[in-house]
Structures are given as structure tokens and as C-alpha cells.
Amino acid sequence: MRSRAASAGLVLALVASFTASLAPSLARAQAPNPTDPVPAPSATSATSPSTTAASPPADPPPAVTARPPDKPPAPAESPGNDEPPNVEAPVKPAAPEPGILEQITSGFSFGSYGRMIAGSDFRGRPGRDADIVARGSRLDESNYVELELRRDDYWQKTDSRTRVVATLALTNPVFHYSGDFDVTLAIRNLFIEERDLGIKRLSVWVGSRMYRGDDIYLLDFWPLDNLNTLGGGLRYELTESGRTWAALHAGVNRPPGLFYYQQSQRPAPNNAFGATTVDILNRQQTIGSLKLSHLIPLSGNAGLKGAVYGEVRALSSGQRETDPGVFEDVPAENGFVVGAQIGAFTGQRDTHLNLFFRYARGLAAYGEFARPTRLSLERTTDGAQEVLVAAGGNWETGPFGLMAGAYLRSFRNASAALDNDDIDEGIVALRPHLFFGEWGGLSVEGSFQAQQRGVLFAEEPAEGETKAAPTGPLTGTMWRFGVVPFLSPAGRGDYSRPHFRLIYLVSLRDKGARAFYPKDDVFGLREVEHFFGFGAEWWFNTSWNYGG
């Protein structure tokens, strides 16, 4: 009993430390953003019941659907994944006994990512996400929580391991805000993964899975790979050390909307009474991805990491009914993504830097759950493209830490002419921390974001004046400055959680940024925006990427 208890405790401790030591940017927690992640500014508030996403927005397309990280990118001694498996610590002197994870038998575990906030704009309205870019500051993100339940088993007969992961995500409305028994929820993970069955270092998974690589915590953004599909995949570590691996995945999804699905009424068959529904168009998107990653250890716990990534997407042709009995052909669609990542980490205190590049074309440019609009003359997504470069990192020394995140993104939809849904945008964000011992500290955040849209902009004239001719594409910029004192029971560290915090954030919009909003929207009327909130963020023991 004592040995088992001791073993169990040691396992838990090692799992905790193992997960903390994983490769850079292991953040995970998701922003509820299941639908189109719009670049347009949000009309919902952080705490209002109508908020469903961190960056909700209204309209169109693209953007990478990013989820807020859950786990900070603790520099790893070796790249791992979230399995029990091997992963001997590359540089630490190993105990002579077998790897502790090999001693894991079975058990349930629970993990969570969450954030809660009560916010205000100092003008009586709830706090509201004021970013003008798709992935902006997350200080004014809305409430979100993931509850994760896992079951790990070691199968002695086959010397293999399985893990079942079920993650329930919930977001606004919150009962204590609205008084309504109502909530938005989603199943973010429901999959099973095995490792070492038959082939050592090979893991296979099947199910519904958040399947993604490294993130930029500061922007709640997975720039390179961030898929949500129903499917499966396999991952193979080409070397004993696990530093080189390849992951292959295939899955399907089918967002709502006439681009994918149409149901029509028909008389019941066989002269029966009433009507029934028939799926006239029902096509699901097939996505396949391949990622290759290699880590080069340096002295100490430091290392370099590189990855290449590719994705293909396909959607079959079909028919859509325009009038009863009248059909139009819906062409097949396809797309692809190519990308790469290079990173470096010190292995000390989560210090790392990652650079990402991603190019998407066709259907893939619109984003995973997008309902493509502004199509080509042939009514396809052919010609759409997205180019993205991004960087994210963290540096800590002594009582000081600095998080950074930046990206530049250019999206063009499939229609030849520039329009409101063609976007160039970017952000640079920095969040230095000053730690007061181990119990808390003060962080400030500054960001500059800009967005340009494919419409010509002319200022609205004063009453009685004639409107001037447009002077160029609509371009908006915004500076944001935030101050966040926090308490950190888990101790010092930029990625140390939980955090209890106060947030004050001021945003300065130029006239271009104000022009992004419709008439009478206060964000379109105000140059200066305040956000004040107090809240918390936590994460522990959650599943994250597949080891990228």
C-alpha cells in the first residue's frame, strides 16, 4: 500500500513535472471560437451572456481559428506528447530504475483550463473585446472553461498504453450573470489514443480531437497547425530519444451553411401523409495533415526545434436546390497548407522563441470552420490565399519575464476584386512581468495592431458638406496598454498558473479603426476605450498538442 501510494504520488508528481517540461509553447486552452474567427471587431462583451467566443465577430471569413493556450510552453528536455510514454529526460541523470511512466498502470485524472472575468468599460457597459485583428490581446477575453477527464491504462498483455480524453468546453452565458439556465458548450476532445501497441514509439488515435502544435500564448493563437476534426492519426517517433517524429492525420468536418449542407422538404414516400426532409447537399470537408519535427539538443536543457507542416483539404462536388426541383451544380473544392516552424529554447524557465510561416490556398485559406464567401466566378474558393508569418516567445530571468507575440497576415478571398473581406493585418504585443517573490507580481502589456481592408475609405463629411473622394484602402490602427497586477499561488513564472488578477486596459483607436464598426456602435464612436476587470486564469493537467 505504501509503495503503491508512494508510486502513485510519484507518478503524479512526475506527470506534472513532465508536462511542465515539454517543448516550447505547449499552451492549450481553447478559446471558444468554433465558427468563423472574424477579423472584424467583436460586438459582444467579455462578460455578457451573449459572448460565445473570445473573439466573436460578425462576419466573414478566414483567419486561423486559434484557441487560447492552456499550458505555457515550458521548455522541454525532450519533446513529448501528452501520453504517459517514455520520454526519458535527455540530460538529467536518470535513475537506474525503469522510467516511471512505464510503471503507470491505470487511472482517472482530471484537468482544466479556465478563465473568468468580470469586466467593465467604465461607462456602465460590460467589458468587450476591442481588438481589431483576428488574434489580439487576450486581456479582455471572455469567460471560458475546459473540463477534461482522462482515463489512462497500461495493458500488460500488449505492453501498450491507452488514454481516453474527454474535454467539455463551456462559455457564456454564465448563470450568475444572466440568471438563465443556459450555457454554450462544446465537446472539444473525445478521443482515444494508444501507444506502443505492436510497434514501439508509434501512437494511434481516433476520435474528435483538438489537434495542434505550438501556440503563441499572448495572442491565443496557434499559427501553424490547429485542426478540429473528427478523424484519426498516428504519430511515430523515428528515434529512440523521441526527438524526431512524424505525425499523420486525417479527419472530416462539416460546418453549417449552404456551402456544405442543404436540406429540403419532400412529400413522404409511398403515399404516406406529411412531409419529410431530404439532404440535397451534404458534403463534408476532408482534411489531411502531415507534420515532421526534429529537435536538436544543445547544452544543458536548451535546444532547437524545427518542423515542417502540410495540409490538404478536399470537398466533393454536389448539387444545391435553388427552387423546388431546380438544381445548380456545386463544384468540388480543394486547398492546401504548407508551413514551417523553427524554435529555440533554453530549457530554463520557459524561455523560448518560435517563428512560424504558413501559406494556405483555396479552401484551406478560408479557415477550418469557415463558410466561404466572395467566391470566384466559377463559384469556387480557387484563388483564395492566406500568408502568415508569426513569432512568439518568452524570456525569464530573475524576477523579470517577458512574453512576446506578433504576426502578419494577408488574406485574399476567391473573388478577383478587392472587397471588405480581403484583409491585411498584424500585431506586435509585449507583456513584461515583474515578480514579487513567488506569490505574485505586476505585468504590463503593450500592443500595436493594424488592419487594412479591401475597400476604399472616405471620411463621412460634416453635415451639409459633400463627401470627399476616397483616399485609399480602409486602414485602422490601435494601440493598447494594460496593467495587470496578479497573485500566483503556483509561484513565479510567466506561465505559472493559476493567476488572480486585476486588469486595466486602455485602447486608442484611430479613425480607420473606428470605421470598422457599424453606425451607432460605441466602438465606432470612441477614440479611447477602457477596460477594467478582475478575474482569474488557471490551467492544470490538461491535454494539449500532439507533441509539437
Binding site: 536548451a302 510561416f357 494577408s410 478577383a416 476584386a417
Partner: protein, 643 residues
Amino acid sequence: MRAMSKSVVVISALAALTTGLGCMSFEEQAQGEITLGTHVDDWRQEVIYQVLIDRFADGDAGNNYRVDLTTPGHWHGGDWKGLEDKLDYLQDLGVTTLWISPVVKNVDTDAGFDGYHGYWTQDATEVNPHFGDLSALRSMISAAHEREMKVILDIVTNHVGQVFYYDINKNGQPDNDVFGGGKTGQSPVEHVTEYDPEFDPRGIQSRTSLGESGPAPVVFQYDPATNHVPPQPVLFQNENVYNRKGRTFNFDDLDQLVHGDFPGGLKDVNTSRCDVKRSMVDVYARWVELADFDGFRIDTVKHVEHEFWRYFAQNLRLRLAEQGKNKFFMFGEAFDGSDSLIGSFTKHEVPAHPNDMLLGGDLARENGPEEAGGCPGAAPITGDMLDGVFYFSQYFQAVRDVFRDGQRTAKIKELWDARADNFGSEPNANGTGIAPSKTLVNFLDNHDVPRFLYNGSGVTQFKVDPELALSNALLFLLTEDGIPCIYYGTEQELDGGNDPANREDLWNTGYSTENATFQWVKRLTGIRKRHKALTLGDQTVIWATDHTGDEEDAGIFAFERAGGDAEGSYALAVFNTHLAKTSSTKFEGNVMKTSLPEGSTLVDVLTPDYQAYSLGADGELDLTLLPTTGALLIPGEQVSPED
């Protein structure tokens, strides 16, 4: 830190990557103010082609919002980019001026119909996003100008779209009310729609079953999804700028004609107000300044006071001339068979017509202070109005009655002889430099009448091959005095009936340039361009007849084009409009006499072998034509190899 410093973080090709990130790149001409220019030399030499943008060509699927190709009354997706893409097609056809449907933002949909035609203005200061943005509009116009083509904008000043309803029963919602029991002894049943009630000279009154209670409140709608939102500019959100008298049902009543809402709930603007006049000048001059249009086609001209046209036309010309836009051509649509009425909008005297007098047309008052009912402009108002009008009387009496129905050709001569009396005979100051009587816009059909080839219900049936009749009518159109206007699709032999059947999608034709009518128009526009007589020459009828039976000359009509500014160029057009009989240019020994001397040679450039005729004594020409055919005779020495 040491580890970090040793680490090599390679930022690979960031510069290359950033160049791969696109920057928004609009053409230079799409931004900022543009320089206006005068792109026309002489409007008489132009051939106008009417384009219904929504139906002409779809060049950008990105603006295909709510497109429904299965329903004629809905958006179909045509846009300015599509028109620009097809300029080569139009240039090949030989047309030189494009009249495009209105560009302003419309009520998007109403009562199951969409505002695809452009005549339901909601925001006169914004482009209609269904057709593109300002960049696309400018690009199209610029591309047209590069091809020496001009662009005329269709504008509406008489009314706006269905932007408000009359709250007759004052219940705060738009209703279809029913009054009256309809039984014996009871009042008759009346259906009254608050969107479009019938005309009331007092203004629409509020009422319930208990009786009337004064003017009905006007309620501006607010449904952004269908763009039923208050109109722009802001002036037009003031209910007092509307006449608020309800729908015209008797167009012979002057009050209804000028002050009634246009059927379909289109709210009539009080164009007698000075602020309205100034706003209209400002709004539409601005469109020229933004996009460099070369002229206006003005909708529903007869529904607006002459006084308004005097103010509008003169002040617009002055404002545009200051910016280098001269010879700006403004012609109007007065859908009426009365020559005196449609011509009155081109005359120079005040009052120009009994309607003008009855509505108070008076230059002294018009030039007086606003408080006295005047509206001083940039310069003293004179009698000048429009540079031209659609020759509707000719449409009814010549195109329909003669070329389609084979009635007596003398009607045409009688009509033309009245021109001098009915139309302006002097150029307008700061105008085109040409008398309006010389720049009437001639047409065979348009978006408001059945196509010439239509042979269904509601029109007399063709008694001859319709395409033969069309060819003859096109010959008439492209040789007579005035500016020809060809409705899109004519060259593709479209044959739709009344609206919306006559607004077919041109892309369904494949834009064929090989069909007979396209080739015929192309040939005629080429001949017209090469022979100044057909554009700048005076017009003299040398044969017209009352005969429509078996007489020798039944159906014959002939006119010369010569003199004027034609510089010696000469052309003779001869038509046999009889539907069944071969006829000749003579009757009972009397042979048609031309103005050319005996022995002159005239060549029919429309015959394959260039049939030549030698004129007899007194320039006589005895020409025989098959039914529904014509001849175009040019002096032998003036014939071009390209003819």
C-alpha cells in the same frame, strides 16, 4: 541566458515573406479626386447602347449577394466589372456611348421584387454594392474612355424608393386596410395599402372607420436587411420634401402626374423646393466629379416641373464646366406620345408648355428670393433645359405603327415636320453646342416596353419575318437624324415582352458576334461612322406615302441626309415598310426626286454587289424594294471599301 545566446534563432527570409504578404493595391485612378475631361466631340456622331448592369455581364462573383437567377425580378449578379470585361464586344458592335443603369444604392428588395434595375434610390451618395465599388465603377469608365467610348449615367430625381409608408390608421405599423362593407346600402369595399395608397389631392389623410383625421403621418421604415432605411442625403429624411399625395392612377391629371407617387410605392419628391433642387444638383454633380461621366439619362422627366429642369440643368452645367467637363449631354425620358409635351423639356421659352404655366413657371419668380418662391442659382436662370429627350412619339408612330405594323409612312413625315415647333431649336448655353431638335434620342425598344421582336400577347402580331422587320427598323434607326440608342440584347435578337421579361441575362447568349443581327448592327454603325451625312447632315424627306395597299409606292419612305455639317457627304435611305408587297419609289408616273443632279451615281451599299443607280432628270431615282427591306445609297465617289 548563456544557452539562449548560444542558440541560433534563424529568422529565415522575413523580408521575402513580408513581400509575399500582399498590400492592398488599388489602381491610382481609384483613389482621390480625379480630373474631369470632355471626351466627346459631337454627340450627333454617337451611338448609344443601353446597359442594364444587373443583366449584362457578371464580372465579380464577390458581389453576388442574394442572386437568384431563376427569378426575373431578382438580382442576377451583373456588375461594372462584367461590363468592363465586355467592352471589346461592344466596341466590335460599333457602339460608342454606354448608358448604364443607376449606380446609387437602392432599396434592396420590396414586395418580392429586387431593386436590380436601380430606380429605387435609398442612398444617392453611395454606390450600389451589388454592382461593385467606386474603384470598379471608375475602372469601367476609364476603360471605356480609353476606347473613346463615353458613359452616360441614369439618374432619378422624381422619386426615391419605398422608404416610408403612410400610417393611415395611425397604429404604428404598415397595413393593408379594408374599408367599406360592399353590400347593398353600404359603402363599396376599398383596399388601401399604407405602402402605396391611391392619390389624394389633399395629401394622404389618416382615417379609420370613424372618419378622417388629418394628414397621415409618414413613417420611415427601418429594416437594414432589405435596405428599407431612411434615405440619404439627410435632407430626404424630412417628410416635407415629399408631396405625400399617394400613387398616381390618372396620368392625364397634372396634379397626379407631377405630385403623385410612382406606382410601386416610389415616393414622389417635392422638386419645387429650393433645397431639393440644390441637393439634386449637388448629389448628381458629385457623381460626375467622382467618376467622370459624360452625360445623364434622366428618368421620369415629365413627372417633374419644368422649373426644376431649368434650375437643375443650368446649374449642373456651370458646376461641371468649371472643372473641365464640357458638352455634358443631358437627355430625358418623357414616356409619352405627345410631341408637344416631350419636346417642351428641350425648349427655351418660359412657360415651355401649358403644364409649365399651370405649375407656375415664371422666370422672374424663379430668379427671385427663396422666401418669394424663387431659387437663385449660380447664374440667372433662363429658359434652357435639357439637351434632348427620347423620341417617344417616334417610337409609337414610326417604329411601332410603321415599321412593325405597316401603317402609312406619311405619319413619319408629319411627325418630323413638327419637330421644329415642338423641340428646342437652339443649343443650350454651356451645353452640347447642338440644338436639342438635332439630338433627339431614337430607339426601337428599351427596358420599359416590349422588345421589338416580342410577338406575344399585348402587341400586334408580326405579319412578316420578325428579324426582317428588325433589320429594317435598325436601318431606320441608324440612318435617321438624331442619336440612335440600342437596347442591350437587340444585337442578340432577344425577344422578351414587358418588364421583367425584357430584362434577360445577356450572358445566356454567349455574346455571339456571328449572328446576323450583330453583324448587321456592326455593319450599319461602321457605315454611319464613315459617312458624316448620317450623323451631321440635315434630314429631308423625299418620299412618304399614305398608301398601304397595292399601290406602287405603298409603304415607301425615303429621306436624304446632306448639308448641315456634313461637309459634302450625302446619303439617301429608302425603306419599303410594306409587310407583304414589293414597292417602288414612284406613283402614277411621279418618280422620287433627289437633290443630286442628273447622271449622279448612287450605290446601294447594303447590296452584296453594290448595286449602282444612275439618277435621271431632276435627280430622279426609280428604286424597287422587296417588302420590309431598305436601301442605303451613297454617291459612288464617297463609297468606302469598308462599306
